[in-house]
């Protein structure tokens, strides 16, 4: 195993603990908005899709990259907008 790979593994392991810790106190009523909000965050795969689409050299790369960009953008944009719509409904509450 190289040092570079170990660095990546380190990010991975630490992020697991942060991910668990950060939502551990979520109340039931926020389960769905939280699911939807984190759903938008994994739309960051758009970063990967852009890297592929932008640097593709062959037809296969163009097709895969293009479709991946469309899907990932839908995930990001739709995810954030739909979460905002859900949470908009919670406004006006005096909690």
């Amino acid at each position: 195993m190289t040092t570079e790979l170990l660095t990546l593994v380190t990010y991975f392991v630490l992020a697991i603990f942060v991910g668990i810790e950060v939502i551990s106190k979520v109340p039931t009523i926020l389960h769905t908005p939280l699911m939807s909000g984190t759903n938008a965050i994994h739309g960051i795969i758009l970063v990967g899709a852009l890297i592929i689409a932008g640097s593709a050299q062959d037809p296969l790369g163009y097709v895969l990259g293009f479709v991946a960009v469309v899907l990932a953008t839908t995930n990001v944009v739709g995810g954030f907008v739909v979460t905002d719509r859900m949470l908009e409904m919670f406004r006006g509450r005096k909690a």
């Binding site: 990546l8 697991i16 990259g65 991946a68 839908t74 907008v81």
Partner: protein, 467 residues
């Protein structure tokens, strides 16, 4: 852009994701939290694009395709998310999750075809293989979850003998191809088979799960997509993908467990027990035979409501389907004016997703103080004159308490049966989403008001006014 600056900006984005998620899990800052995450996303994306441009990594054709792709995805995402009705939000989340998983799988497919030519090490090919499998399962599984909730297909579990064995064999075949790819590397068509099998497994895995359990499944697949994205981060050596993907993978796993806990079930029970199969157990069938239900008139029920001291409204999915949240509020306001104390009892999993009822009633501007969580109100039913159950069923079914054979046995329920009178607003005697009969419908204290929830409530409003 120097690698240092790139990493620093990715770090900023990662911190914003974490802060955003933290805020999302508290009622006060939830909406702001979502926007904080979105800002993190914009930073990560702009950083990536600027970096690629500065390094001349964009081919002209690639750049055009990327721009067109972003525009199409942006329009589809915005229109989809804006147009969707509140009742259809769970399946919309499934859809957005699925396409994310699909994108992760495609990115991995491209990388794998690219690196296979030069005999990659196992450490290089493992993340691609992982991402293809998990992303593929997430994509296909989410599409089935969408179809079930959108009622494009039946919401009841689809089962056949030996199903778990077949699913196990598919999984074993996937492991075999994955092993071949990672260890022997260039196996012709292995990765195509892998992708196809992953899609098949995604479908096969969700088919036997009932519609009522879909939120838990979507949450699990959400965690899957997160992990697939993290794996893509390993392929592309990208900090932002690893951290964001892992955050979602870890929190999504915990959230899945919390959700099944809220239903009083284990995650294994949700995923493999095919709960919701409409096979009436011997007890259930015998229990309903020969018993009669009391169907009431709106006028009589209206009078009863108007002369009560305390009324509790139990909303369920039927309320959402009928879009009756505004009428129910009108009825509650009217009763309050007549001096009746009105509260809403919210079961954690009423509707099709946790929090569904809160969202709907908040839309109708029901005061937050009137929404009572299950633990807070369960002891108050015995001093309640009338409980109005609007389109709910399983969450008030005493079978969860009394009959150990029932699929919902052990689920915490609202103690509606303690009240003096129970009024069910239901379209028919059809069982609830879990597919089991409800003893309470035959209780002598119970009056049924058949019909669409909105129509029935409108009639009740008129009746209360006249009383």
């Amino acid at each position: 852009m120097s690698r240092l600056l790139l990493q620093a900006l990715y770090l900023v984005a990662a911190v914003l994701f974490i802060v955003g998620m933290k805020q999302l899990s508290s009622p006060r800052g939830a909406r702001r939290g979502n926007w904080i995450s979105a800002v993190g996303m914009v930073i990560a994306l702009l950083t990536t694009v600027i970096n690629l441009v500065l390094l001349h990594k964009f081919t002209a054709a690639g750049a055009v395709l990327a721009v067109i792709g972003v525009i199409i995805g942006g329009v589809v995402g915005t229109v989809g998310a804006r147009r969707v009705r509140m009742t259809a939000m769970p399946q919309m989340v499934a859809l957005f999750n699925g396409v994310g998983g699909g994108a992760a799988a495609l990115v991995a497919v491209y990388e794998l075809t690219y690196i296979l030519g030069r005999h990659p090490s196992a450490a290089e090919s493992f993340p691609s293989v992982f991402s293809i499998v998990i992303g593929g399962v997430s994509f296909a599984g989410s599409m089935v979850a969408f179809a079930k909730l959108q009622e494009l297909m039946t919401g009841t579990p689809i089962t056949y003998p030996g199903q778990q064995v077949v699913n196990g064999l598919i999984a074993a075949a996937i492991l075999g191809f994955a092993f071949a790819l990672i260890v022997i590397a260039n196996v012709p068509l292995a990765f195509v088979s892998l992708l196809v099998l992953a899609l098949v497994l995604g479908v096969a895995f969700v088919l036997p799960i009932g519609g009522a359990d879909m939120p838990v499944v979507i949450s699990l697949l959400n965690a899957f997509t997160g992990l697939a994205v993290a794996a893509s981060g390993f392929i592309l050596d990208n900090f932002a993908l690893i951290v964001a993907g892992t955050l979602v993978g870890a929190s999504g796993t915990l959230l899945t467990l919390l959700m099944s806990q809220a239903m009083g079930r284990s995650i294994a029970n949700v995923l493999f027990a095919a709960v919701g199969t409409p096979v009436a157990g011997p007890a259930g069938a015998a229990g309903s035979e020969g018993k009669s239900v009391r169907a009431g008139q709106a006028d009589d029920i209206g009078t009863m409501l108007a002369y009560s001291r305390r009324v509790i409204i139990v909303p369920g999915y039927g309320l959402a389907v009928a879009q009756a949240q505004h009428v129910v509020r009108e009825l509650a306001d009217l009763l309050e004016k007549k001096g009746v104390t009105v509260d809403y009892a919210i079961h954690p999993v009423a509707g099709r997703m946790p929090g569904h009822m809160n969202v709907l009633l908040a839309e109708a501007n029901v005061p937050y103080e009137q929404l009572k969580e299950m633990d807070a109100i369960n002891d108050e039913f015995k001093s309640t004159d009338v409980v109005l159950v609007v389109g709910a069923n399983d969450v008030v079914n005493p079978a969860a308490r009394n009959s150990p054979g029932s699929p919902i046995y052990g689920m915490p329920i609202l103690n509606v049966d303690d009240a003096h009178n129970i009024v069910f607003l239901k379209r028919s005697m059809r069982p609830g989403f879990a597919g089991i009969d409800n003893e309470l419908l035959y209780d002598p204290k119970t009056i049924m008001l058949f019909g669409d929830a909105k129509d029935s409530l409108t009639k009740l409003v008129a009746a209360v006014k006249a009383a």
